[in-house]
């Protein structure tokens, strides 16, 4: 199977994702379900990166700091809570 070079930097590799699922007792995983999951994780990470860049610029910095990441994650979690209500 041809290896996708642009997937090499994904935070959770497919191999590790499969391992996590197997640990939970999911023994057989279809390729489609992994593709779907991978896409969703990629979209989530992309949106985090966009928000983190914005937070960094708003704070007048060119270096992403832990506090920027925390603000973005807290903000996202808050929004998710609202949706749950």
């Amino acid at each position: 199977m041809e290896k996708k070079s642009n997937k090499d930097n994904s935070l959770i590799k497919r191999k590790n994702l499969v391992l996590m699922m197997k640990k939970e007792g999911i023994m057989n995983i279809s390729k489609d379900s992994l593709d779907l999951l991978e896409g969703e994780i990629e979209r989530y990470l992309e949106s985090l990166v966009v928000l983190m860049k914005e937070e960094m610029l708003i704070n007048g910095r060119r270096t992403l700091k832990k506090e920027d990441v925390r603000v973005v994650l807290d903000d996202r979690n808050k929004k998710e809570d609202v949706w749950e209500v």
Partner: protein
């Protein structure tokens, strides 16, 4: 405007079939989705059409305008479209159809700020060394000391920047020919 190109493309794909509906002259996006908000919570659109019909897409706020609305007592929504609207039919901002460019003019004051903060703000906005500064990097242009214009798509970034540092500022929308 390019900043939110992904969102615009997503909106276009969802509304594509309505664009070809009979009587629909254009569908225009406005609001936070085109003003540079990283992840807008909802999408505001206006359908310019002779007749109204139902568009039910979660997260979309749909308004209708009739062609007559542009001439007889135009509602404030018409004003908003010229200021920040993005035409899906033409693939460019609403004002650009009429060869205008929509910009935001920011004026700010550094009076009363700590000296170190003043330096930081100036360095960020005007740049230092090889950095061009936030204004030029985001398609902006300096008009005078403490006055600059930026494309409408970057309004949100500068507004949040000034609010974050508690800098007094005001903004005006301008259409340039």
């Amino acid at each position: 405007m390019q900043k939110n190109l992904k969102i615009i493309l997503m909106v276009k794909s969802k509304l594509k079939r309505y664009l070809n509906e009979k009587g629909v002259l254009d569908i225009v996006i406005f609001g936070s989705a085109v003003k540079g908000k990283a992840l807008p919570r909802d999408i505001d659109v206006v359908v310019i059409s002779e007749r109204e019909f139902k568009i039910d897409i979660p997260g979309f706020h749909v308004n209708f305008l009739k062609p007559d609305d542009f001439f007889k007592n135009p509602p404030t929504l018409v004003n908003t479209l010229f200021r920040e609207g993005y035409s899906l039919k033409n693939g460019k901002s609403f004002s650009e159809i009429y060869r205008f460019k929509s910009k935001v003019l920011f004026r700010y004051e550094l009076k009363g700020l700590r000296a170190s903060l003043k330096v930081k703000v100036v360095n960020v906005l005007r740049g230092k060394g090889v950095n061009e500064g936030l204004v030029l990097e985001n398609g902006g242009e300096w008009l005078a000391n403490q006055i600059f214009i930026v494309p409408i798509g970057n309004e949100n970034l500068f507004e949040k920047f000034f609010l974050n540092f508690k800098i007094k500022f005001n903004k005006s929308y301008i259409l340039m020919h």
